[in-house]
Amino acid sequence: MSSVPSLSPAFDRLRAAATGRRFTAGRAAAVIALLSVVLIVAVLFSLTVGSTSAGILDLVLPSRASSESATILMRVRLPRILLALAVGASLSAAGVCFQALLRNPLADPYILGISGGAGLGAILSSALAAGAGMPLTLLRPAAAFAGSLGAVMLLLAMARRHGRLLPETMILLGVVMNATIMAAIMFIITMADFSRYAGTMYWLLGNLTSPTPAELAMVYGCLGPGVLVLALLGQGLNVMTGGEELAGQVGVDVPRLRILALLAASLITAAAVSMAGLVGFVGLMVPHLGRAWLGPDNRLLVPASALLGAIILVMADTAARSLFAPTQIPVGVITALFGGPCFLWLFARHRPGEGTAA
């Protein structure tokens, strides 16, 4: 009945020991504190790495504080790191939510086409707003939100139509949805003045740049409430993994939970996608990593996965901009290089026919 892959009896015992501890406020606080410390270390490390020699010392030493290096750190690197942090956290928390809500261990905003929906909205708004000369800081995320919500609704409608949608079938739907969305995006790019969207190809692969303060405020404005809502819905999401009927019977207001969770998860996915494009597999890998360590309780898994995802994407983007400097690789290339095989591994361990959808 379990869909979580098991490596070996030893690993199972380890996991049982880890999951044998149930959710308490103290345990949650300890895990979150530990991950926060690691995240701070990752951010500081990332600040020191880059194509110029600027480092932390440029901020700390008064003699260098006003130097060009300090400007690079504060105006270029830090915003980008903060964006990587938010994108990783958003996609991971959304992944946890979709996996629980759709009862599908293979769910991920990217694979299911939810990121694609957000991307289509973002591109469409960019193409239209460029013509009308409108500011994009809020319009683009709003259009991305509409797109991601549309994709989720379509998935749910398909699941309802078939009563029970197998995880594999849902992935197939995601593949078709992604292909259609890509075609639509390519159509829009071709019809619009392509030269204006030179960065679009990078964006489609998932790429981080240095955002403006307003853009950062937008992303964090979505991330904070979104993750908070999902964490507070944690026990409801736990019960939902046993099906909507069970959830209703133990006292969950299922329609309310579903709407709140889908709105929150779609919102943070959209905010991430509108800034960083289609970064794939983070929302798949990180929740499984978190579950292997902490167990499946979503009350802890949501915040822990957000922090884990933040750490992983900050590190992935550090690699993306420094490994082959001065050439920068889109961070989505790195996450896909790791995430693709990870998906295959999960898929191979997954026993077909298990788990059901809404």
Binding site: T19, R22, L246
Partner: protein, 281 residues
């Protein structure tokens, strides 16, 4: 009305599944403290009736009250405190521990931040002790046997602290020892703690042994409702199950049981040349 309201009162309920009527206006009432078995062939409507009285599906006609309260006006949280359900399918997508699973029964009692109190833990532990699953508390659900898992699911329902317990085929796929274990547990809960219990069962003889009231359903109609010796009429059972059944009485208890008649002896040599196993002496 005298005395406490019925634990369950379904009046004139109709229900259709995809245009096909399952029930066309039936009445079904359970008094507090009763232990009732719903029996009948596959597709007779037993599970649907359970879903109607648990509020999982809404009737297309008539109404259901739980302890006198119309079920459609109860919030899911209040409903969960009145009625607990042990469903037929118990699959979880992810691997929770026994403790985590049983604590899910406390969902309706959790505060805004969704953290269990000491009382929730105590209730869950009591439910596990009652079902003999406390020893597994830290184990993963997937590492338990089918029988143990079913006891955990019952513990989760008990943790809801509802006075009405509905079970859908709680003994399906279990061997005779585990079936008895489940029924002994249900009888104990009914007799000692006064829980009202309604269970569906394909094991009609076990149901007759443990339940003082048997409700026989076929094609959405209640064909008989009463103590086992009243319901276990050979013609009635044979007709409802559409197969010949003999009814006998256990001389020790006076409780009836039904069995198919003796298999007619096959010809000594079948077409393949091998003797029928029943004819080997």
């Amino acid at each position: 009305m005298n005395g406490p309201p019925a634990a369950v009162a379904a009046r004139n309920i109709g229900f259709s599944y995809r245009e096909t009527p399952v029930f066309r206006g039936i009445d079904f009432t359970v008094a507090p403290g009763e232990m009732v078995a719903l029996i009948g062939p596959n597709g007779s409507g037993k599970t649907t009736l359970l879903k109607l009285i648990s509020g999982a599906v809404a009737p297309t006609g008539g109404g259901v009250t739980l302890s006198g309260k119309p079920i459609e006006r109860l919030s899911s949280g209040r409903k969960a405190r009145l009625v607990a359900v042990v469903p037929q399918e118990t699959g979880m997508t992810f691997d929770f521990t026994v403790m985590e699973t049983v604590l899910m029964g406390r969902t309706a009692y959790l505060g805004r931040f969704g953290v269990e109190t000491h009382e929730d833990i105590a209730v869950a532990q009591e439910a596990m002790r009652r079902t003999g699953t406390l020893q597994f508390a830290g184990r993963l659900l997937s590492h338990l046997s089918g029988g143990e898992r079913q006891l955990v699911v019952i513990a989760r329902a008990l943790a809801q602290k509802a006075r009405l317990l509905l079970l859908d085929e709680p003994t399906a796929f279990l061997d005779i020892k585990h079936r008895m274990e489940i029924y002994d547990l249900l009888l104990g809960l009914n007799a000692e703690e006064g829980l009202t219990i309604v269970t569906t069962s394909h094991d009609i003889n076990l149901a007759a042994r443990y339940c003082r009231r048997i409700v026989l359903i076929k094609q959405g109609l209640i064909r008989a409702d009463g103590p086992p010796d009243q319901v276990f009429q050979p013609e009635l059972l044979s007709d409802v199950y559409d197969t010949p059944l003999h009814v006998m009485t256990d001389p020790a208890t006076g409780i009836p049981y039904a069995l198919p008649p003796i298999v007619p002896t096959a010809p000594a040599v079948s077409r393949g040349g091998f003797p029928h196993p029943k004819t080997i002496r």
